[in-house]
Amino acid sequence: MTLLFQLLVNGLIVGALYGVVAMSFVLIYKASRIVNFAQGEFLLIGAWTCWWLLTSWQLPFWIGFPITLAFMLAFGVILQIVVLRPMIGEPIISVIMVTIGLSIVFQAAMKWMFGVFAKPFPPIFASPTMNLFGLEVQTVYVMSLVISILIMAGFGWFFKYSRVGLAMRATAFDQQVAQSLGISVRHMFAMSWAISAMVSAVAGVTVGVVNGVSSALSFFGIKVFPAVILGGLDSVIGAVVGGLIVGVLENMAHYLDSQWLNWGNMYEIAPFYVLIAILMIKPYGLFGTKDIERV
């Protein structure tokens, strides 16, 4: 029983992390209908940047981390200007392919710059782990949990009520119409990429602190797809809920597996089975907006 409970807690904590990454997908999707396959590399870039600031510059975490976020903001804007701007108005799928190209480039560039070996983060918190409901968890997970809740609340408001949030949604719906309303599609895209890159960096640093930074970290990008879809592609809250569900699901599946099934990798596969099941009941995920079907 305690094992089950500990797994549950762990699921929630890891799920919150998935939620953060999922949110960064949703941000870009909401403004541009693009699924960013380079999201995992964003995590990686954020993690390496922070690592570099902390080790080479010996900055304390509370300075290095904000600088990382600022850098990622700028990075998102620049990336948008250089690569994605020329793609405005082009078929979405081509843009998605471009993000795949970007992921190849970044993956190689990161290895070039930082090498192929995993590198540990210097110790950040006075106590690297803390006890949460009887489970020892990494302090940094708790930090990301708090940050993700803040971010989620912020974006929930942003898309519902702010002028720019509305404009982003309009851009996603139809770029031509958005332009006709005086919305600068470029600005919207730049903004969404910048914010998304920043949010990814939070996740990247978290994972990096726990496991050390290495290129393989970018795998997170694909790993959270089920979470994104479960919640609904265009729902910020959905992303977080989806992340939590996947996190808990993984852990529960593992419990089931280790206690009775002995399949071995239920924790990896179960989210996908559940994903299909949920989608069959709710084709737009739990919180996604339905397409309007009218003739």
Binding site: F37, V83, I93, V98, I276, P283, V295
Partner: protein, 357 residues
């Protein structure tokens, strides 16, 4: 009124039959035939390296065509294509190893088996659209990969399985020179089948579903049927491609069929041109040649002044990877509609030359 159709001038069709041929003009038809003849002669003057690349284009091109039917023609994105490709590979090996089916029959049989799997995983297509469906296919990718690693009886488990070379009447197609013909024939046949499909009823229905599924339904098209069917057809092509791959390499291992491979398939059709049959082939060739070209290029760079100036040495591999990514990006920035589109424009340009407007 401005007519927007670009039909070669001086090309008047006298019957509807001649207006629905695969090749719009006699010249293009002759060129195609000439091309095939040239290809037939390839083994005579090409070394194994080039042949192996062409063979790769062959089996990958068949599978990619399947994906294009699904994504390009029916508008359903799949990021699980390599799993179907893998299923075809295992199925064919299994049929010939365990059931004793001759390889020549095992290949189409594998196609049919993969079709069934495709139909199974295509079932969500009845309800899901767009990226939701895409991620459901991602689930198919992982579920199938897991199956490959587990189903010892079928795949040999994680150890993998061997596949016998294709033998017809005692003649084994076990070298690149010989297998080249197998790949070529399969490619031509599969492409002709697809071309025919797309100009007849069910092919049109698939495209109609993509362009406007609501009105397609009102035109009498059964959405569920066609959405699922498209998965079946796509899986069939993947299965055939995979089976050819198995009997070419003569060994199949789970490791080969990852999501990265699926994404490469997507790359082939996007770069080639969604919804274009010949574009698929061009895109496949692009994706096969690109790493090779970059490899050759880096070879040239290494040891030169540039190398020492940039202090590449150990890092040239990364430079190459980056340039592969960059070429894809640049390509799409300049030609987002794919090679087929560019090809069409070039043709249109020359047709209308010097009156390019």
């Amino acid at each position: 009124m401005a007519s927007v159709s670009i039909i070669p001038s001086g090309d008047y069709k006298t019957s509807y039959g001649s207006d629905t041929t695969i090749f719009p003009t006699r010249t293009s038809r002759n060129f195609a035939i000439l091309g095939v003849i040239l290809l037939l002669a390839c083994p005579a003057f090409m070394d194994r390296y080039w042949l192996s690349l062409l063979i790769q284009i062959g089996y990958l091109g068949i599978a990619a065509l399947g994906l294009n039917i699904l994504v390009g023609f029916t508008g359903q994105i799949s990021i699980g294509h390599s799993a179907f490709f893998g299923f075809g590979a295992f199925a064919s090996a299994w049929a010939s190893n365990s059931l004793g089916v001759p390889v020549a029959l095992a290949i189409p049989l594998a196609g049919v088996m993969t079709t069934l799997v495709g139909l199974l995983f295509g079932m969500p297509a009845a309800r899901l659209k767009g990226l939701y469906l895409a991620i459901a296919t991602l689930a198919a990718q992982y579920i199938l990969q897991d199956f490959f690693a587990r189903a010892d009886w079928f795949t040999g488990g994680t150890a993998g399985t061997i596949a016998e070379p294709l033998t017809i009447f005692g003649f084994a197609f076990d070298t690149d020179e010989r297998f080249f013909y197998v790949a070529l024939v399969a490619l031509v046949v599969m492409y002709i089948l697809a071309t025919n499909l797309m100009r007849t009823r069910d092919g049109r229905a698939l495209v109609a579903v993509r362009d406007h599924y609501l009105s397609a339904e009102i035109m009498g098209i059964n959405l569920t049927k066609y959405r699922t069917m498209s998965f079946g057809i796509s899986a069939f092509y993947a299965g055939i491609g995979g089976a050819l791959y198995a009997h070419y390499l003569q060994f199949v291992s789970v490791e080969g069929f990852t999501i990265l491979f699926s994404i490469q398939f997507l790359g082939m059709i996007i770069i080639g041109g969604l919804g274009s049959i010949m574009g698929t082939l061009m895109g496949t060739a692009f994706m096969v040649f690109l790493p090779e070209a970059m490899q050759a290029l880096t070879k040239l760079v290494s040891g030169t002044a540039l190398d020492t100036a940039l202090n590449l040495k150990d890092n040239i591999a990364f430079l190459r990877e980056m340039s592969i990514g960059l070429v894809i990006i640049l390509f799409l920035v300049f030609e987002p509609d794919g090679l087929a589109h560019r090809w069409k424009q070039i043709k249109a340009y020359w047709k209308l030359y010097p009156f390019s407007h």
